[in-house]
């Protein structure tokens, strides 16, 4: 997995490339922790290059969704392929996250 950080306006964009699983979810946890120490943070996770996600990856997303919501921030996702989208559907995550087609749609 590789994580690329950028900032568009007030939003922190994290592009995740490759596999997000039990062997490497700590890397995403570290990045999100260092971004979410402040209230009202805005984060967009671009999953366009994500090839695979397991429940270990999903648990980090849920943990930070709870944390960010409690601190009046926004945690958005975009770029889900149909295979990744199916995992989000089965897990019910499709209903609890703000999900956009792509970065442009999320950021406008």
């Amino acid at each position: 997995m590789n994580i690329t950080l950028s900032k568009v306006g007030e939003t922190n964009v994290l592009q995740i490339e490759g596999r997000l699983d039990t062997t490497n979810y700590g890397e995403l946890e570290h990045h999100l922790s260092s971004l979410t120490n402040n209230d009202e943070i805005k984060i967009l996770l671009d999953l366009d290059k994500l090839e695979y996600i397991s429940s270990s990856g999903l648990r980090i997303l849920l943990m930070f969704l709870k944390k960010i919501k409690a601190a009046d921030g926004r945690f958005m996702l975009c770029g889900l392929s149909s295979d990744i989208r199916e995992i989000f559907e089965i897990s019910g995550f499709i209903n609890i996250f703000e999900i956009f087609e792509n970065q442009d749609a999320a950021l406008k």
Partner: protein, 140 residues
């Protein structure tokens, strides 16, 4: 050319070993010409089962082997996972995944077993002596 229709993989009880699983699933998909989605679902379900065994099932700090047997039949893939951890039957375990709750009320966890039950076509469990044997069927 004669294709192999059985493959065995042995994984030790260490999270780093899950990488072997990924490689084995890719090789299996290539060898048996499986659709990408089926091999991804098998990879996912096995990651959930094996990581649970590593996390929850051993009561000592020793090395243990987890054996995965893959078999291709005419219209299905049959996978059995054998471990010598404590007895655990996911089919009768009292676990749920809260998949309909809003974010605030959703608990963390419980998705692994939910994925196994949802993505496989059938799942069987048996305890044989000191071994857990879980058998998964995935239709092609």
């Amino acid at each position: 050319m004669q294709r192999m229709n059985k493959v065995q993989l042995i994984i030790l009880n260490d999270v780093g070993e899950l990488r072997k699983l990924h490689i084995a699933c890719e090789n299996m998909a290539a060898e048996w010409l499986l659709p990408e989605k089926i091999s991804m679902n098998i990879n996912l379900v096995l990651e959930e089962i094996i990581s649970n065994i590593i996390f929850y099932s051993y009561e000592d700090d020793l090395e243990h082997e987890i054996t995965i047997d893959f078999r291709k039949e005419n219209k299905e893939i049959i996978i059995s996972i054998t471990d010598d951890g404590k007895a655990f039957d996911m089919l009768s375990a009292d676990v749920s995944a809260d998949i309909d709750k809003p974010a605030e009320e959703r608990k963390i966890g419980g998705l692994g077993i939910h994925f196994v039950k949802t993505l496989m076509d059938s799942v069987e469990y048996r305890r044989e002596g000191s071994l857990n044997i879980l058998t998964l069927h995935k239709n092609l």
